[in-house]
């Protein structure tokens, strides 16, 4: 069911994409902001990696960095991004263009990810035109891609994005990504702006496609429940760093990092059986420009001791198998899941 894998050092042939030590710095009016700080991730073919974290944790930046979509001005990045062994960082623009048929992206806002002035069929065919697919073939591939997301070409032809609802737009966006037949899709908050009654569609659709095409996915979301649903493995980001990474079960049932636990505890649960008891704790979220020394989470962490301020924890295997960057990882089941199982 789930293909949980222990992260292993070194390159393995099943690894489609391998990010090593990726750092991205933005400079804004003289100040340097580390959006991503030494992140190493990998995705195997057909695998879905979920990236969760709060706003500003670097999720989106990672997604864009590995497709080389970051703005060039005021941005520096380092580290290696290898796609099936090819280092994307070293590719020329033209070389990168060749790679783009194999990696695609789906954006958060279905409306703004379409040029409002273009027709749907042109939008879906865009990648094919750029990749130089002959016209005759283009049509069939567009048709196929649209069919995959539940549209007939005849229904959408000639229409503009604003004639579609958010959910439909997001399906078309999936079709656009699929049309070039990629191996990997980066989904950046693909359901965040959809109504609950619509987002289920899109999630199911992504799942179907993943299975049918053996697509690898990087699924970026702030919604832990959605990430849990779609991901084989989950990486939890905090302040530009991976603080915990492992399979869905590992992360959700026995979170080792205090931050992961905090996130999970905060998720509103559709549980009306009792009235929640409000907690009164609150901690300031530290500045991105001057992150705290040592562990970035220590200012919010109930377990923090002096060592956390002195020594930055590195990602190491936790007892339950996941990787965690904490000096004092938890090793008990999540309190809420205990409650549920009780």
């Amino acid at each position: 069911m789930t293909n949980t894998r222990l992260p292993v050092a070194g390159t393995s042939p099943s690894r489609l994409l391998e990010i090593e030590n990726l750092s991205v710095h933005f400079s804004r009016s003289g100040k340097l902001m580390r959006a991503v700080d030494g992140v190493s991730l990998h995705v195997a073919a057909g695998e879905t990696l979920g990236l969760v974290g709060e706003s500003g944790s670097g999720k989106t930046t990672i997604g864009r960095a590995l497709l080389r979509l970051l703005p060039e001005a005021n941005t520096q990045w380092q580290g290696s991004i290898r796609y099936q062994g090819t280092d994307l960082a070293s590719l020329s623009r033209a070389g990168m263009r060749g790679m783009r048929g194999r990696m695609q992206m789906i954006f958060q806002d279905p409306v703004s990810s379409f040029n409002p002035r273009r027709r749907i069929e042109d939008i879906v065919a865009e990648g094919l035109v750029i990749q130089g697919v002959p016209k005759a073939e283009r049509r069939t591939r567009v048709e196929a891609a649209l069919a995959d997301v539940g549209f007939a070409l005849a229904d959408v032809a000639g229409r503009k994005p604003h004639q579609f609802s958010g959910g439909q737009c997001q399906r078309i966006a999936i079709a656009r990504a699929l049309a070039v037949q990629p191996d990997l899709i980066v989904c950046d908050e693909p359901v965040a702006s959809l109504d609950v009654s619509v987002q289920a569609h899109v999630i199911n659709l992504l799942q179907d496609i993943r299975e049918a095409r053996r697509l690898a996915m990087i699924f970026i979301s702030h919604d832990l429940a959605v990430v849990k649903n779609v991901s084989d493995r989950v990486a939890v980001l905090y302040m530009g760093k991976v603080v915990e990474m492992g399979s869905g079960e590992q992360i959700y049932d026995r979170p080792a990092h205090p931050y992961t636990r905090k996130l999970l505890e905060a998720v509103p649960v559709v549980d009306a059986s009792r009235k929640l008891r409000p907690a009164a704790d609150q901690q300031a979220i530290p500045s991105r420009i001057r992150p705290p020394s040592g562990c970035a989470f220590r200012t919010r962490c109930p377990r923090a001791v002096a060592r956390c301020g002195e020594e930055e924890p590195i990602l190491t295997p936790a007892p339950r198998g996941q990787m965690v960057a904490c000096h004092f990882p938890h090793d008990e089941t999540a309190p809420f899941s205990t409650a549920r199982q009780a």
Binding site: M1, G167, Q207, A266, D271, A280
Partner: protein, 344 residues
């Protein structure tokens, strides 16, 4: 002003936007009450009319919107008042926190003054006293160094802090009712929880009533006494929160609950989907607004809007021609097959 008089009662309220070619019904036949010291959750997807409902109650609906029916606030009929008096009355009785903390605070005015100004206007509180009250409230909502923060501008605060300041501002006139309109939607989960906790604490401590408006069922689930489900401008289900969640009778409520991914589902669980799209203002179905998307819809669903019915619990009401069966016992939330058993 008796204690058993509900703080807010909407009777047969409706809202129309005047537009061409025909006026658009945003809300129809809204009927609910908020009892003292209780919390009401209002849930609905975008376009369901949540925002308009709040604005109509607050008297800040756009000029092109016509509000009909009756709104009783603390026993007073709002529409019987002169507009100016009404605004002042609402301002004193109701505190409101809006969705977007980034835009709800005037970036040009120090936060302290934005908190204090309402009581200065409504109760002629002297400047120093208003300041003291505001500082006290800042402390209450958990702002460190409230004396200093009084003179800070909104941009000095993070989103969560701003929302706390908005809560402080809403409390300055000691309102009887606090409305949080998607107050935590724009916040990160951890901050969302903190703010929700704060709202709940304050409501309980100050013995206020509260309306918690959200698109997220999870937000209202553990924090309200009653819940009102809006769909397409209609109240489709209304009742005690635990009852509605445990035993949804309207098919929309049930579908919504089962469409949500849950953290206790295994990875790659298929979600139940709801066909179609929520109705738009311009082309609302003639009968039940949910009929086009409802698997159980039959003839009358497409032609007539169902009346409110009452379940076994007399407080649980729903508008469905073919409601779901009442399930007995607390074990299963709904008939959703693929959601698995959910322990209570």
């Amino acid at each position: 002003m008796s204690e058993d008089l509900p703080i807010l009662a909407c009777r047969d309220m409706s809202c129309q936007i005047s537009a061409r070619p025909k006026a658009l019904d945003v809300l129809q036949n809204i009927d609910f009450t908020v009892a003292r010291h209780t919390a009401l959750g209002i849930v609905g997807e975008s376009g369901a009319g949540k925002s308009m409902l709040v604005k109509s109650i607050m008297g800040i609906a756009p000029a092109s919107v016509r509000v009909n029916g009756q709104i009783m606030l603390d026993g007073q009929d709002l529409f019987a008042m002169k507009p100016r008096d009404r605004a002042r009355f609402i301002g004193r009785k109701v505190g409101i926190v809006f969705q977007n903390p980034m835009t709800s605070l005037n970036p040009y005015v120090p936060v302290g003054r934005q908190i204090a100004e309402a009581c200065r206007q409504h109760f002629d509180v002297p400047r120093d006293e208003a300041r003291q009250r505001a500082i006290e409230l800042l402390r209450t909502v958990g702002i460190a160094d409230p004396e200093d923060c009084y003179d800070y501008y909104p941009h000095h605060f993070s989103g969560g802090m701003k929302q706390r300041i908005m809560i402080a501002a809403s409390l300055i006139c000691h309102p009887d009712l606090l409305i949080a309109d998607e107050a935590t939607t724009a916040l990160d989960v951890t901050v969302q929880k903190e703010v929700l906790d704060l709202l709940q604490t304050i409501q309980e401590q100050r013995q206020m009533s509260m309306i918690l408006v959200s698109h997220n069922l999870g937000v209202v689930a553990g924090r309200t006494d009653e819940i009102l489900v809006l769909y397409g401008g209609h109240v489709v289900e209304y009742g005690p929160t635990s009852e509605v969640f445990r035993n949804p009778r309207h098919r929309y409520t049930e579908a919504l609950l089962s469409a949500m991914p849950h953290m206790d589902q295994p990875t790659h669980t298929r979600l139940r989907t709801i066909a179609g799209q929520p109705p738009s203002l311009a082309n609302k179905p003639a009968g039940c607004p949910f009929a086009p998307r409802c698997g159980a819809a039959e003839g009358p669903c497409h032609t007539t809007m169902p009346d409110m019915r009452t379940g076994t619990d007399s407080r649980h009401r729903f508008a469905c021609h073919f409601p779901l069966e009442q399930t007995v016992g607390p074990a299963v939330v709904s008939g959703a097959t693929d959601r698995g058993a959910r322990a209570q």
